[in-house]
């Protein structure tokens, strides 16, 4: 039987087939669906951990205890979790440990396009890179086998295009296993306690392991030479292999399914077969530099950019410009100038109330990552920094210590707060700061598609769990000034922010309203009374998509409006309200 699956669905399926019993992840596009799908298979345990580092520690523990474990994260999640990559590289583990790392060339939904193949080399661990969904499925099993035979974590690298593309996958029978009996935890301090004396003992083991892995890379079917003509020999991997196959149908290929360590022998063999070696890889010259170190001349980043995502068309244009293939593909189509469609806060989103108040108070807001980062976009334009998750609270401490004229606040989402906001909040209190932190709490991890989090009362697999209350947490740390407010109540929001920013002690505001998309809230749409409207523009300035400027006034699109009423609250003329029986407003 065959099924069409996305790369991420196939990873989850492969993990299930391979007998993985414990999975842990923190959401992040384009990796989120891996754990989402895995969690639905029978007999598995899967969790949303508070952040990627915790997820990776959970995976490490499961593997230490002899279980097979799956960890998944987006590329920047690996920055958060990299400590674990480094220590597990040294300790190794008893059961197989697979880490799926999703890079995002083109930055479809990320703050940077870092190339995480460097992590494999940095931490001296093997990395696989499948090229379609069938390979994604198989890669998990292959990674587990490598993990268990070489005593190392194995990273499987995917990219947005692979994770979110669908292709045909062969269905298989899962390995029928008798449930394993609990065995005693195997204690081995010199392998698992990484104090300097023991860690020194481990480093040579890791170097030796890397040599053996390089030998393995020569013979594994993950890497293969696909014969073609003797003009061009292409070295490539992942989804880029698929693009290159279309642009160079007759070339000889070295298709790498394992991108670290690289197979020197196969690279030399390819070079011996062809007149010219060409490395085609997205982002950094990771393979190319290695090929050059072998003393082999190659084309690479001189032809194919190190910026952005590739596509068959882009590769074709680069190759034509460099004369690798004939033709000049100058498109004759002139591109029209069209209005863009940038993402914006949804109609009725509670975040809007908070950002409108911040804008009105002209506050400098130091931000974080989530739906609420859209508060930086016009017309709200009310967030002024966003670097990585959890940055806001440390950043405001630095800003306030320098001291600026502006009123300042940090703004952080609920999931982001649990991810990496708690330690900075403690740091703020500990250092006698006077900064104000606002948690925009929509009771869910919205940006990545509504995953449960420690504040939502449910686990990934649907179990009830106590809601961790952000206000109580802050109080227990020592915050005296803590307020929970409804972001739609404009006057309260304004007064509370004013009160907090002038306070001498560090303080916390929780602006709480559930994500309307998640709870599917829909009240009757509002209408504008054109008699009363004086076109002051307040409602246009909240950036709510149903509100449209029309000839002679303002109109609200009833199909899009969810009736939250915020525009009515801030209307200077009382011209917006629910539709009354006669069709006007009350």
């Amino acid at each position: 039987m065959k099924k069409i699956m996305s790369g991420n669905e196939a990873f989850a399926y492969g993990a299930y087939l391979a007998g993985i019993k414990v999975g842990a992840a923190y959401p992040g596009t384009p990796s989120t669906e891996i754990m989402d799908n895995f969690s639905k298979y029978p007999g598995v345990y899967a969790e949303w951990s508070a952040n990627e580092k915790v997820a990776f520690d959970v995976g490490a523990g499961a593997a230490y205890a002899g279980g097979r474990a799956l960890v998944a994260m987006k590329h920047v999640g690996m920055n958060v979790a990299s400590e674990v990559l480094f220590y597990t590289s040294y300790t190794g583990m008893k059961g197989g440990l697979v880490v799926i790392n999703a890079d995002d060339p083109g930055m479809h939904s990320s703050q940077n396009e870092q190339d995480n193949r460097h992590y494999a080399r940095f931490a001296k661990v093997p990395m696989l890179e499948p090229a379609d969904s069938e390979e994604a499925k198989q890669s998990v099993k292959a990674a587990l086998e490598i993990s268990e035979s070489f005593d190392t974590p194995v990273v499987v690298r995917t990219t947005t295009r692979l994770s979110h593309s669908l292709s045909i996958v062969e269905m298989e029978e899962p390995v029928a296993e008798a449930p394993a009996e609990s065995v005693a935890y195997e204690r081995n301090a010199s392998k698992y306690v990484m104090v300097p004396a023991y860690a020194r003992g481990r480093h040579p083991v890791i170097e030796e392991r890397l040599k053996k892995l390089a030998e393995f890379a020569e013979t594994t079917p993950l890497n293969r030479i696909e014969p073609g003509d003797d003009q061009i020999g292409i070295i490539t991997s992942g989804v880029v292999y698929q693009y290159a196959r279309e642009v160079f149908p007759n070339a000889t290929f070295l298709k790498l399914g394992m991108v670290y360590p690289l197979p020197d022998g196969l690279i030399r063999e390819l070079a011996g077969r062809v007149k010219q070696v060409v490395v085609i890889e997205e982002l950094d010259p990771f393979i190319e530099e290695h090929v050059r170190l072998l003393g082999i001349q190659t084309r690479g980043k001189d032809v194919f950019s190190n910026i952005g995502e590739f596509s068959p068309g882009r590769i074709r244009r680069f190759a034509q410009e460099a004369g690798l293939i004939p033709g000049s593909n100058q498109s004759t189509v002139t591109m029209p100038q069209l209005p863009g469609r940038p993402p914006m806060l949804c109609p009725g989103c509670g975040h809007r109330g908070l950002f409108y108040a911040l804008q009105r108070l002209n506050v400098a807001a130091f931000g974080d990552i989530g739906c609420y980062t859209l508060g930086a976009a016009p017309p709200l334009s009310a967030m002024h920094t966003c670097g990585c998750m959890g940055a806001s609270i440390g950043v405001i401490q630095g800003v306030d210590r320098v001291g600026v004229k502006d009123r300042t606040v940090a703004v952080i989402g609920d999931s982001t707060f649990f991810h990496s906001g708690v330690a900075p909040l403690i740091s703020l209190k500990y250092n006698n700061s006077s900064s104000t932190v606002i948690v925009v709490d929509n009771r869910i991890t919205a940006m990545t598609g509504h995953q449960e989090n420690p504040g939502s009362g449910k686990t990934l697999q649907g179990a009830d769990t106590p809601v961790i209350k952000i206000d109580e947490l802050a109080r227990s740390i020592g915050f005296n000034k803590v307020d929970v407010i409804n972001p739609y109540e404009f006057r309260t929001v304004v007064d509370t922010i004013k009160d907090h920013v002038q306070s001498e002690e560090s303080s916390l505001i929780v602006a709480q309203y559930p994500c309307v998309l998640n709870i599917r809230e829909k009240k009757p749409a509002l209408v504008v009374d054109v008699e009363k409207c004086n076109e002051c523009g307040n409602c246009i300035r909240i950036g709510c998509s149903p509100i449209t400027k029309v000839e002679g006034g303002i109109s609200i699109n009833a199909e899009l409006c969810i009736g939250c009423g915020f525009c009515a609250t801030i209307c200077s003329q009382g011209a917006i309200g629910p539709q009354n029986k006669e069709g006007g407003t009350d």
Binding site: S165, V239, E246, L338, P342, P343, S545
Partner: protein, 197 residues
């Protein structure tokens, strides 16, 4: 069986572009094609543009359509149709839902939504033929705006050789159980609109 057919879908978040393109991929698979599909939906729930590529072929490598290679453009929204002239193959067909979703800059009165004629000439200028489908109107008539995409799929099916049963089965298999009948009805309505009977 054709050597390859490339389809490009364009729409706005929430219009069901992903579901309908999944149905199309399933039809291709059930008719013996190798199929691949790719979508970009990072911020789609927040009103952004959504694109989806579906490829049928004897053997398909890339999951994305190449510029100048799309045989069919399926646009769920008029402005979104106009963004893709460079993807059209010579003699390709653009099937467009007559439906407008205003982008924020138009709402704010800063930019103009292009005229229907303008959209048509952008696409015909790139070698495409334009077919307008009253998908939104039909969907409303059937009581649910979300059906417009399936109406469009019906219109597409009338131009391809695959048997109607392959299409209706894929629709039934992929839509939520309680909306099966309604979706098949919408699909057949679109198919009829295109064949003109």
């Amino acid at each position: 069986m054709k050597k390859k057919i490339d389809f490009l879908f364009a729409g706005v978040g929430g219009q069901g572009t992903i579901l309908v393109s999944n149905i199309l991929a399933e039809v291709g698979k059930s008719c013996g094609y190798d199929v691949k599909k790719s979508e970009v939906h990072g911020m789609s729930q927040r009103g952004g543009a959504v694109e989806s590529h579906v490829r049928w072929g004897e053997k398909v490598y890339a999951p994305v359509v190449e510029e100048g290679g799309a045989d069919y453009l399926m646009a769920f929204e008029m402005l979104e149709a106009a963004r893709w002239p460079h993807y059209l193959a010579p003699g390709s067909i653009a099937i467009i839902n007559r439906h407008r979703v205003m982008p924020p800059s138009v709402n704010l009165g800063k930019e103009k939504y292009p005229e229907e004629k303008e959209i048509e000439s952008i696409l015909t200028g790139a070698g495409g033929q334009v077919t307008w489908v009253e998908g939104a109107a039909k969907a409303l008539e059937l009581g649910n705006m979300a059906l417009a995409g399936v109406v469009l799929l019906g219109a597409l099916s009338a131009r391809l050789d695959e048997p109607v049963e392959a299409w209706t089965k894929a629709v039934e298999d992929l839509v939520p159980a309680k909306f099966k009948e309604l979706n098949v009805k919408a699909f057949l309505a679109g198919r009829e609109m295109a064949t003109g009977n």
